[in-house]
Subunit: 246 residues, 2 copies
DNA sequence: CAGTGGTCTAGACCACTTC
DNA sequence: AAGTGGTCTAGACCACTGG
C-alpha cells in the first residue's frame, strides 16, 4: 500500500485522491465493489477523517465513486467515470477517441469583427480582435471548419505564436499564456454548410451538419475567446455525459 | 438577516446555502462583489467554519460563487450561474426558456425491442420493454419527435401511469416512482428526418435536424431508460454550459 | 502587517443499513 | 448491536493577497 508524504508539497487529501484513482484505473477496485470505509482509510493512511472525506467528496463529484448511507462507498462503472466532453478541446477529444488530431491554419489576422462578437468578448471601442480560420482534421479527414476570435491586446501573446495554432492546440496555447478557460458556453444547432465550408470540407451542398457557437470564460466570468464551427454531420457526433445532483 | 434553525431537520450547511442563494438571486449580492468572509459568516450564523466551508464549496461547485486565495469569495456572473442543460428534461428546459411545454403521447406499448437497446438497458432475455412515442411541443409548435424505452418489470409503475406521460413529464414521473436519473449519456448528431418524422413534424423531407440518443442511469450506473429523438433544426438549438476544473 | 481562503486535526453525535 | 456515511464543533497552522 502506498503511503502519503507529509513532506510532499501536495495536500494530503490530494495525494489520497491520486492513490485511489490509481487503484481504480488499474482495476484493483472493480466497479460496484466497495472501497475501504472512512475509519479504515483513516487508519491506513494516518490522516484525519475530514481529510479522507474531502478526498472522497471530490472523487464522488468527479464520478469515480458513489456513496450509500449506511452501506459504504463504491466504485462507479467506467461509463459513469467518463469526462463530460462536448468539445472543450477538439485536439483532446480526438485523442480520447483514438484518432489523430490535425489541422490547417488558413488565416490569422487582426480585424474589427461584428458587433455581436465584440459584445460577447466585451472589448472597448478601439480594441481589435484576433481572428483564426482553421480546418480541423481527424486521421487526415477534414471534420470541421472553425473560426476563432480573441481580444487583441489581451491575447497578444497568442497572436505572436499563431504558427503553433496550426497544429490545433489553441486551447493548450491559451492555458500556457495564462488565459485558462473555466466556463464554456455552447450553442449547438443543425444547419447546412455555406459555400466556403462546402468547398473546404469537400461535401455536398445540402449535407447536414452541426453548427457550434462557443464562448470561453475565465473563472471570474471574463470572456477570453469565442468561436463558430461547422461539423460535417456524417463525420462527427457530439458526446456528452452529465452528472446531475452535483 | 435570516437565522438558521437548529430545530430544522435540514442540515445547517444546507440552510446556509439556501440563504446565500436567496440573497444572490434577489440581487442583494451583485456579480463580482464579495460575500462576507468565512469568519464573518461563522459569527453571523453561529456555526463552525467547517459548516460554512461546506456550504461555500457546494455553491462554488454549482457555479454561484468563485474564490480567490487571499482575496475573498465572489458572486459569479449570471451566465456562469446557468445550469448545464443539454436536455435533462425537455419540460424543464422549455420552462427555463419561457416557452409552454406540451406533447402528445402517440403510442404506449410493451415490446421486445432491438438487441442494441436491450443491451443498453441490460434486461434479461425474457424481460420486455415499455415503449412510448411522443410528439413534443413548445407554445403549441411541434419541436421534436421522441421514442422512449424503459425496462418493463422495473418501471411497471410508469407504464401504469402512462396517461400522465402525455403531458410530457416522463422525467418527473420517473423521479416520483423512485427511478432517479443521475447520469445522462448523450450522443448528438446532424441528420435528416425519416418519413414518419417528416409527417408528424410537418417539415420538408430534406430539413436538417438533430438526432439525440440518450441513456439515463441511476447513481450506481444501472440504466433506467433510453430514448431517441429528432429535433427540427430550424426550431430548436441545444445550449450547454460547462464548468471545467470541477 | 492583517485579512483572506486552504489544509488538517481529534473529537462528537446522528441516521441509515445489516444482522 | 455494530458498522457505515452525514453533520458539526473548536481549534490549529499555512499560503496568498493587499496596504
Amino acid at each position: 500500500m502506498p503511503t502519503l508524504e507529509r513532506s510532499n508539497p501536495l495536500p494530503l487529501y490530494y495525494q489520497l485522491k491520486e492513490v485511489l484513482k490509481e487503484q481504480i484505473h488499474a482495476g484493483h477496485l472493480a466497479p460496484h465493489t466497495s472501497i475501504p470505509s472512512e475509519p479504515e482509510l483513516v487508519n491506513s493512511y494516518h490522516v484525519s477523517r475530514a481529510t479522507v472525506r474531502q478526498a472522497l467528496a471530490e472523487l464522488v463529484h468527479e464520478g469515480l465513486l458513489y456513496r450509500q448511507h449506511g452501506k459504504g462507498t463504491f466504485v462507479c462503472e467506467p461509463r459513469v467515470q467518463q469526462t463530460v466532453s462536448i468539445l472543450t478541446s477538439f485536439t483532446e477529444e480526438m485523442k480520447r477517441r483514438g484518432k489523430r488530431p490535425g489541422g490547417i491554419l488558413l488565416i490569422s489576422e487582426l480585424v474589427r469583427g461584428s458587433e455581436t462578437i465584440r459584445r460577447q468578448l466585451q472589448v472597448t471601442d478601439t480594441e481589435q480582435l484576433i481572428r483564426f480560420e482553421r480546418l480541423r482534421t481527424a486521421d487526415g479527414t477534414p471534420i470541421a471548419y472553425e473560426t476563432d476570435y480573441l481580444p487583441y491586446p489581451r491575447a497578444a501573446a497568442i497572436y505572436g505564436r499563431a504558427r503553433e495554432v496550426a497544429e490545433g492546440s489553441l486551447n493548450s496555447l491559451m492555458i500556457a499564456e495564462g488565459l485558462t478557460p473555466s466556463i464554456i458556453e455552447q450553442k449547438l444547432s443543425a444547419d447546412r454548410a455555406n459555400k466556403r465550408e462546402v468547398e473546404l470540407l469537400a461535401i455536398a451542398p445540402d449535407e447536414p451538419g452541426l453548427r457550434l457557437f462557443c464562448i470561453l470564460f475565465e473563472q471570474t466570468g471574463a470572456p477570453i475567446a469565442c468561436s463558430e464551427s461547422f461539423y460535417v454531420g456524417s463525420r462527427y457526433a457530439f458526446e456528452v455525459t452529465l452528472r446531475s445532483g452535483r
